[in-house]
């Protein structure tokens, strides 16, 4: 598979986040077991308001499990998931959405039997502010004009890239405080990867906090502020995006070579 050539890093290095600020999300010693197999072995991770944090790692390193544990789709075996400093372990998943956590799952998971517009409307399921929903819907169509063209089409009939845009748009319709994305570049042509990453960078500039899970480290680090690298359920490496890109350890720990 051809890896897209990483764009040269020309943007200024962002200032380090204000550590006096309380983290929006923090994972403290989070561990998850599937049966007898441990997928996460006590990881610590923080996301500060306004940050775009990349969570990198190879297949099976525990990236998706981390997001699933934050959304409470899987129960933590140990450790805590904290939101604004309060532990949210054991909260039903639909309540985490109410807190402001939107999780755009792996493999897009659009509702194929419903139209594009219906998918987006369900993204705003917990909201009652009709005017705000309308504004966000227009913003979403502005971000991904192709969705606007296909708004009455069944989501299942969209191409892979369009489904990914729909999945992101649907998550945005919840007007989240934190947007978590699981491998948005998976299975997309390089041109579409760039398009999706561009859209995410735009959302970040507008101030949205994001936790981006990616196997495509170059694409993710090109837009992220900071990153963590997961290696078989543990944090192997972390630092600012620039540090990670220039680190010789990245390829080492990430590709296992």
């Amino acid at each position: 598979m051809a890896t897209p050539i990483p764009p040269p890093i020309t943007r200024p290095i962002p200032p380090p986040p204000l550590r006096a600020q309380q983290p929006l999300l923090s994972l403290e010693g989070l561990a998850v077991h599937y049966g007898g197999i441990s997928a996460l072995r006590g990881i610590d991770l923080v996301v500060y308001p306004g940050e775009l944090v990349a969570l990198l790692g190879s297949n099976g390193a525990g990236k998706s499990t981390t997001l699933r544990a934050i959304s409470q789709l899987v129960p933590p075996a140990a450790g805590r998931v904290c939101w604004h400093g309060g532990c949210i372990n054991g909260l039903p998943t639909h309540r985490t959405v109410k807190l402001g956590i939107a999780h755009c799952p792996e493999g897009r998971r659009v509702l194929g039997g419903l139209s594009v517009a219906d998918n987006l409307a369900l993204g705003a399921w917990l909201r009652r502010d009709q005017a705000g929903i309308k504004v966000d819907l227009e913003r979403c169509y502005g971000l991904f004009p192709r969705l606007a063209e296909r708004r009455n089409q069944l989501a299942g009939s969209l191409s892979g890239g369009e489904q990914q845009m729909l999945a992101i748009g649907r998550a945005l319709m919840a007007r989240p405080t934190l947007l978590m994305l699981d491998e948005p570049s998976l299975g997309l042509a390089p041109k579409l990867v760039a398009e999706v990453m561009g859209a995410l960078a735009g959302l970040h500039r507008d101030g949205l906090t994001m936790l981006l899970v990616e196997q495509n480290a170059n694409a993710a680090l090109s837009i992220a502020d900071r990153g963590y690298v997961l290696e078989s359920g543990q944090i192997g490496l972390s630092g600012s995006a620039v540090e990670l890109v220039n680190s010789s350890e990245l390829g080492h720990s990430y590709l296992g070579v």
Partner: protein
């Protein structure tokens, strides 16, 4: 000849409407859980008994409630929806006791099928214990001032058949409007397509499952009350036959398809009505024969999705 045809058509349609209501109850639960609720037939039976009691019927000499009669005697149009609500409550109870504990433990859906079968057996036996195994008849005079039969295009038509057809049509229309045209109906479809993603959108899937059970119980209760009025309550087991037929309809129409359930119900109802009265013993043969032939040609049912797994 013409009047015979109208008679036959109405017989078939009203029977088919009952089957469709029945199959829709299965469909609602199947669509959110992927499991067939085998207690559905017992809920239908309960609906009939509730209706009988609410219009002031007395319990017979057998059973623990021998001679019991409610102090009130409601008109049929009021007793029927109340019986539907009672049946919905029982369906919710079944969800709580036979389905949710398994779901919370992530058990194989097949196990819920067995527990629901158990819940159905318990309900049927409970009915027998309480009111005995004899048959009860809802007096045909319970329809208030309405005549027992009316003339329609030269045919003598029983009012209860028209009522059955009317109630079923209204309910089916309301249900499809709800599922296709409202936010909560679409949320139900979201849960049916992908429960995990539905939760990630903030949809409380437990709540949607409860709604599906409540609605399915309500539909079964109404169908039970109407059939009780139409042909009498032939003992605690009388829902079982309809339950099996409803399953046939469900498969015939295509698992999980709402229009399929309606089409399948009408088809089987009409097929049965075409069997001459002298050969009425062969009705089941015809009904299941239709099912057999359709499944040979279209294994996914009339309106079901193809069985091949999609990528």
């Amino acid at each position: 000849m013409g009047s015979d045809f109208i008679q036959l058509l109405l017989n078939g349609l009203s029977l088919g409407a009952v089957y469709a209501l029945f199959a829709l109850g299965y469909t609602l639960v199947f669509s959110v859980l992927g499991v067939i609720n085998f207690a559905h037939g017992a809920v239908f039976t309960l609906g009939a008994y509730f209706t009988y009691l609410l219009i002031g019927g007395a319990v017979g000499a057998n059973g623990l409630l021998a001679g019991f009669q409610l102090p009130i005697a409601l008109p049929f149009w009021l007793a029927l929806p109340l019986a539907g609500l009672g049946a919905a409550t029982v369906a919710l109870l079944i969800e709580r006791l036979a389905f949710r504990p398994l779901r919370e433990r992530n058990a194989d859906p097949l196990l819920a099928l067995i527990t629901s079968l158990g819940a159905g057996v318990v309900l049927v036996n409970l009915i027998q214990l309480l009111v005995g195994a004899e048959s009860y008849a809802i007096p045909s005079g319970s329809l208030g001032g309405l005549p027992v039969a009316i003339q329609l295009f030269g045919a003598q038509v029983r009012t209860v058949q028209l009522l059955l057809l009317l109630v079923a049509t209204v309910l089916l229309a309301a249900l499809s409007l709800w599922i296709d045209g409202t936010r909560s109906g679409k949320a139900l479809r979201a849960v049916s397509e992908d429960p995990t993603t539905a939760q990630l959108l903030g949809i409380n899937s437990h709540r949607m499952v409860q709604i599906a059970f409540g609605l399915s119980g309500f539909l079964a209760g109404l169908a039970g009350g109407l059939v009780g009025l139409s042909v009498s309550l032939a003992g605690p087991y009388f829902g079982i036959g309809y339950g099996l037929k409803g399953l046939g309809v469900l498969v015939l129409g295509g698992l999980g398809s709402v229009p399929g359930a309606v089409l399948g119900g009408l088809l089987i109802g009409l097929a049965e009505a075409c069997v001459p009265a002298a050969w009425s013993g062969y009705r089941e043969v015809v009904a299941y024969g239709v099912l057999f032939v359709v499944l040979l040609v279209r294994p996914q049912g009339l309106l079901g999705k193809p069985l091949a797994t999609k990528v």
